[in-house]
Symmetry: C2
Subunit: 357 residues, 2 copies
């Protein structure tokens, strides 16, 4: 199988411009040690021949590939889509290519860490949303390139992530401040080893309750497989069938919150009158559905990760254990409100007193 077509080489350009390949190389890399006249001739020749430098050949000698690799669990999630969409322009501005390794299940994962295909093929690796074992981390340590951990923190390694604990804490406090006393936490079980911050957010939930002197009731913590309509109904059902059902549900992420909303709508339980619902992420759909939520910015995460990677490429020792922690913000919308007084109890008796803005 021959290559589709022969590309012109630097030698072709050099010949056409009547100079040496070194001069062509210097010109095309924008080095200032080329006289304007020669520069013009070379650039014209290159344009006429439709010449493009072979990154392969260049990187063979420079030792740099001009490529950023990213390891991601999926490409079809709001988070990854947003993060990569913001990453791309930053890379492009730096003249780097984007190489995606999507590793969706445990088998692929094993294969990836076994072969480490990114080795020698990128200048840095961004690892998104993986709960790595110690062996996996160690494996990445001798990948021979800077590795940045995104959406997770790994001790002693450069990481970029949002403060999930604080975010979940804010969320829960908002509900407490509204007067809720029975607050449920719903989260997705997720594939083992693929971190979507579930644990941290549960931590924040617990922390806020404890701070407020409220008990943590395990019955109020429910789990469902991700993106599972039936599973979510069951989880919501577990809450609705409690002796003392919650007046508010904090969902680990907007996707789940939306599924919960649609379940509640099916049985005509009014939101927020009967039950408040609060999400986490602030994806576009949250605004559309008027869902109260905690905003995080995957775009900022993507950009921060890129910047950190650039620093580390230039100086691998620059940020051994540098951590970039990004903030979250509560966005109150229409799905949270003070709880209505329980039946048989006069409003004045209830704990329902909004202290929130």
């Amino acid at each position: 199988m021959p290559p589709a077509q022969r590309h012109p080489t630097m030698a072709d350009v050099a010949e056409r411009a009547g100079v040496s390949t070194s001069t062509v190389s210097r010109t095309l890399r924008g080095l200032s040690t080329v006289s304007p006249a020669v520069r013009d001739r070379v650039e014209e020749a290159a344009r006429e021949l439709n010449f493009a430098v072979s990154r392969q050949a260049a990187s063979l000698v420079t030792g740099r590939t001009g490529t950023m690799a990213v390891l991601v669990p999926t490409l079809s999630s709001w988070f990854m889509g947003s993060a990569l969409s913001s990453l791309a322009p930053v890379l492009r501005a730096a003249g780097m290519e984007l190489n995606v390794y999507m590793v969706g299940d445990l088998a692929e994962r094993a294969a990836f860490f076994e072969r480490l295909p990114a080795r020698r093929n990128a200048d840095a690796l961004l690892v998104f949303c993986f709960d790595l074992t110690d062996e996996e981390t160690a494996r990445l340590d001798d990948l021979g390139m800077p590795v940045i951990y995104v959406s997770q923190h790994v001790e002693g390694r450069p990481s970029v992530y949002v403060d999930d604990v604080a975010g979940a804490c804010k969320a829960t406090r908002h509900l407490i401040n509204l007067g809720h006393r029975r607050i449920a936490f719903a989260h997705t079980s997720g594939v083992r080893g693929f971190s979507f911050s579930s644990g941290e957010r549960l931590l924040g939930y617990r922390q806020a309750l404890t701070e407020a002197g409220m008990p943590v009731d395990d019955e109020l913590i429910v789990t469902t497989p991700p993106r599972d309509k039936v599973g979510t109904r069951r989880a919501v059902g577990n809450l609705l069938s409690l002796r003392e059902p919650p007046t508010a549900i904090f969902a680990e992420h907007d996707e789940l919150a939306i599924l919960i909303l649609s379940t509640l709508r099916t049985v005509r339980i009014e939101v927020p009158e009967r039950i408040s619902v609060l999400g986490f992420d602030d994806q576009l759909m949250a605004e559309w559905l008027d869902l109260s939520t905690v905003a995080q910015s995957p775009s900022d995460i993507g950009r921060a990760a890129a910047e950190l990677a650039f620093d580390l490429i230039d100086d691998p020792e620059a940020g051994r254990g540098r951590h970039v922690v990004l903030p979250t913000h509560l966005i109150p919308r229409g799905t949270t409100s003070p709880p209505s007084a329980p039946p048989g109890e006069r409003p004045a008796d209830g704990p329902a007193e909004a202290r929130d803005a």
Copy 2:
């Protein structure tokens, strides 16, 4: 700036195994002309040294990069996420890397076609969702690698796409069959030059109406910027303020349909009792919100594109103008129903007679 770390080379492996680099190369590529004993020694040496072949060096001599490039307008849409998520495993199985060029606006687009950074850096290019000008297509023609057009058809070039006209036709016919006579079409304006099949779907809508002997009323065709809550409200408002408002709205895609649903809910117009809403795509959210829609499969598109690309890499002449057209399916759910009889008209008088399953 030195590379982070020196990688072992084939020479290192060769020395350790006591053979020549040629033998190492042959072994690692799985050529059968290596004796088992030697093969074992080489493989062990490679493993011990954590050796990985440099694609750069290899492709310099083979002329193949082992990389598939994709040109996409965004990474944060349901369509692109799904398509790329299905593409990735196929590439991985073929031992190819995935290189993403995200070109989001017209400036970036001009730069991309000016420099064609994919040139020499990939074995094939998949162009997603771009409405290309003739010059742009011509430019890609001498990129020196197979180019596959995805989600669009370009004359005489290999393409993969769904039959949008037929899909929109099915959608509209479903509404007609339910008894609707005033059927609106809502679509997004989109950025010029980035095709999201808007035009084709409008065509299908018109075609179905014409087939049924119904007039095409331009007042019933409304436009809004994509993902724009306010713009969508205005568009819906235009429909609701007509002398004779529609009893059904067919939206160009689910995202828009959802925005329309949320607008209708705000003003308490019941769906489907008062107005039926029908989408296009069948993304996950459609199922969650019980939205009737026309299903397409970006995953199938991604896989088909990859297969076509492989064929063309092996034999560039294989499919000059091969077109893969994928089907769509109507998924009736809870947001479409026969129209209720208009006020002041007895049910028997109205055109509302369900002929649909």
